[in-house]
Symmetry: C2
Subunit: 520 residues, 2 copies
């Protein structure tokens, strides 16, 4: 090891030797030695964002697509705080993420300078693992521990605080950096006994619903699950907000469990067994008066594979136990009559599904068009959908950035509601800066649709002045074309299906990012 | 009390009866009963922001100008998390803020639904006081406690978590709401003995520097301090980042202590006594190798009034003890030759200072033009400056919103660096929505200037590829006029002093918000 290497550089080299090659960063003064060290580690690509929530959301998208740790670099407690909302989503998605937070010089911390805050308390809410580097010499050991931790429990957020003085110190160790990447995230096997118990339960083909989540939503998982379901006459659902689900007409049509509790309860009712495969027990998104939190029938729930366990292996073992083999599927593309005229969420979902190029990645945020498209994607070319796992909004655009950087050969679509897009609108700039092949589709209805729906659910006949003021976004209407151009992203507005088809078709051919405002 | 009132409504009425008349909100489903309750409490003005950091920053600006508690409403842990950075600044500013966070229904929390997180851990980092409402019947008591807490210790952040089911329950209490507002934030008096000790110390007029902060920077505080300083031949500084400082040619010229440690140490050197008046001991903003954290000479520091104590009363008591009287000041407006030609930070500072209408409020964020203007404001019409107290960036635009709402008769200027403006760029929309008389001035140099300065301080001759990529904002250059128009704010770009003067002059006359990009 070069004896002139700083500990900042040693950390980056250790991360890079573990396979991490991108750093999603919004640095400040306490990260300057890390910024300088990046000059010496050109194999680590720095991706700058104008706001930290873009960094953490991009890391989430990158980690979901790569299945290996993503790296963020943020500035002290307040900078890190801006990344928390999207780290909350990453925590729910079990995405492996390593956050490096620069901190004050260790000897300066006690003086409570203006930017000092309780970083550990902030990090605790989203991190499965956290540590502060206590001595410069521990740097390499600690970052390796953070990387390893990020791949535990099926993937989690690991946060490492790096005081500025330690970043600047020279790495003293003469141990060479271990260049072998740590083993990939290995999921523990589900209990064999549990699988056998479930196989026995299913022997007489009772009414069964499988709820798939996590790795069960890979192609292999879905094929095994579909074969089992076909054999048993069972229902098959994906969790409502999967971190990642493969879709398309070459795969079983595993629709998502409905969002609202009433249809979800209905979907699960009548099932003697609701079998979880990498999914958590279905729980109402919010607690509603006179509706239960638990959505599955009492006593029906069992787990073939817990979240964080190897759900694919469990499904294949169950298929073997039941004597069924995964089937290959290839539905012909049968589209119902092409929708024409004004845009509606259904028409938008259907047109996008028809237009998707093979291998596209679709980052979905917002219910308006997200559900219709997800349903329609059963008939599309093979694609990957990424959804908002934790409900912290402002997730879709950054996740699209991370997915595009993780998979440079695939087209990325960000299907986004207008309200939620605003929380991390600065994403557009990073898309332009990195020339990412992302088509941003804004479903623009100039209101917080979900909140107006909730007001409707509580029997509000018409909105009062305050309810209207707090749920409508029409005064002023955001000019999406202007915002996009402001950040260097070409944009158009469409109001009917013909214009949408034409805009989509040119946007899919463009090299860099494009934004289409779809007026509803 | 109307027996049909929900606890959500009771909370709002209790807050309103304590003098709170604005709610800076970005609600979600768990705040729907509060949104509905706002329909019944029209004297509480709901102000919607597209991002929670705008809410908390606006609350900070409102609280600083009103000197009474400001109210925010955010959505669970992730929504609240987005407000933390600006609450960090508010904590440093000792601004009285009450955060209401909607939470899941109490009976739903245990099921760990997607949006569930450790709110208490997040709130701890910024809140001087926090509580969760444990029973619906405690609602009014708890919000009163939160309001009272926000005014303790010279002002602090108080956070109250309000489960959705309790919001919906009917208020059972037949106690009428107490309509008398709680007593205003009364600062405890500084120790009389301490004041007398200091007066004795100063009797033989040793070399003294006064460092003023908090209430010492009001007009009364500055006049008393100036009289004392004149009598003693003492130096007078304001803390580097005051929450609020009155400026103008009718006031003593109290410049801010320099930001970088070297000039700050020089400014304080030679002082036998550095006397703190409502300010904290001067500490280096960051810890730099070979420079001390403490900026004042060893053993020189004593406090006439601690932060959170009544600094004005302490200064007036000291003046009396020394036998001096506050003087009235009215410097003639003597401007050096009007700067011409290309824009420079000095020219910008000087032109704004010359243009300020009487009573303007200037929210300053970013060093590029902030320091030159603050210095130049010694010669301006009387005005109030608000600065970034905690270093969490994205503070200037939201604070301008809050100040404009708190003081509808005063013109507000947001003097803003381009990098920092992006963190809460959604502020522009709220400015347009509320037609606020704010002139946004963007000092646009398309880089993170402070980071390039820091890289320069660490003897970097030229920027490496990564250092350049992480500190420059010129690829693509943000089109500020497009962004502003996208949010409904008219905008112009200026590149020389003549154009800036002309643009400022029309912007000052406009009723709603205006943005001027000042190209550097």
């Amino acid at each position: 090891m070069d004896s002139k290497m700083t500990c900042a550089e040693a950390l980056l080299r250790a991360a890079n030797s573990a396979g991490i090659d991108v750093c999603f960063a919004n640095p400040g003064t306490t990260e300057i030695p890390l910024v300088q060290a990046l000059d010496n580690v050109p194999q680590m690509r720095p991706v700058l964002a104008l706001f930290e929530g873009v960094c953490s959301g991009a890391a989430d998208g990158y980690g979901r697509m790569r299945g290996s740790p993503a790296l963020t670099l943020t500035h002290l407690g307040p900078g890190f705080a801006n990344s928390i909302a999207n780290l909350h989503n990453a925590r729910r998605a079990r995405t492996p993420i390593v956050n490096i937070i620069g901190d004050h010089a260790s000897w300066h911390l006690a003086f409570d300078a203006p930017l000092t805050s309780d970083i550990a308390s902030l990090a605790a809410a989203v991190s499965g693992w956290q540590r502060k580097i206590e001595r410069a010499d521990d740097t390499v050991r600690d970052v390796k521990a953070a990387i390893a931790a990020s791949m535990q429990r099926g993937g989690q957020v690991a946060t490492l605080v790096f005081p500025m003085d330690f970043q600047q110190q020279l790495e003293k160790s003469d141990r060479p950096l271990d260049n072998s990447p740590p083993e990939a995230c290995k999921l523990p096997l589900a209990s064999r006994g549990r699988i056998e118990d479930i196989a026995r339960c299913l022997h007489d083909r009772p009414s069964v619903t499988f709820l798939l989540g996590g790795p069960a939503l890979t192609e292999r998982g879905q094929r095994a699950a579909a074969a089992i379901a076909e054999y048993l006459g069972a229902k098959l659902y994906a969790e409502t907000f999967p971190a990642r689900i493969e879709r398309g007409r070459n795969l079983p049509d595993v629709d998502r469990l409905p969002y609202f509790p009433e249809p979800a309860i209905k979907a699960l009712s009548g099932s003697r067994h609701v079998i979880l495969v990498g999914a958590r027990e279905p729980i109402a998104y919010f607690g509603y008066e006179n509706l239960p939190s638990r959505l599955a029938p009492d006593g029906s729930v069992s787990a073939l594979a817990e979240p964080g366990e190897d759900a694919v292996e469990a499904l294949e073992a169950l298929a073997t136990a039941l004597g069924v083999k995964p089937v290959s599927i290839n539905r012909p593309a049968q589209w119902s009559a092409a929708p024409e005229g004004q845009l509606s969420p259904q028409a938008i979902g259907s047109i996008i599904a028809q237009t998707l190029p093979e291998g596209a990645i679709v980052s979905i945020e917002g219910g308006t068009c997200g559900y219709p498209f997800a349903t329609a994607s059963a008939m599309s070319s093979s694609c990957t959908l990424l959804t908002n796992t934790g409900g912290a909004i402002g997730q879709g655009l950054p996740v699209a950035i991370g997915a595009a950087i993780a998979c440079p050969d695939r087209k990325v679509i960000a299907l986004q509601s207008d309200g939620s897009a605003q929380y991390t609108i600065q994403s557009l700039w990073t898309m332009a800066r990195e020339s990412l092949p992302i088509v941003v589709l804004i479903a623009s209805n100039h209101r917080y649709g979900v909140l107006q729906t909730e007001l409707g659910r509580s029997n509000v006949a018409h909105l009062g002045a305050a309810s209207a003021a707090l749920t409508s976004l029409d005064k002023p209407k955001i000019d999406w074309q202007a915002i996009a151009r402001g950040y260097g992203v070409p944009a158009v507005q469409v109001a009917d299906t013909t214009a949408l088809r034409s805009a989509l078709s040119s946007a899919m051919r463009a090299e860099g990012p494009q934004l289409i405002e779809m007026s509803l």
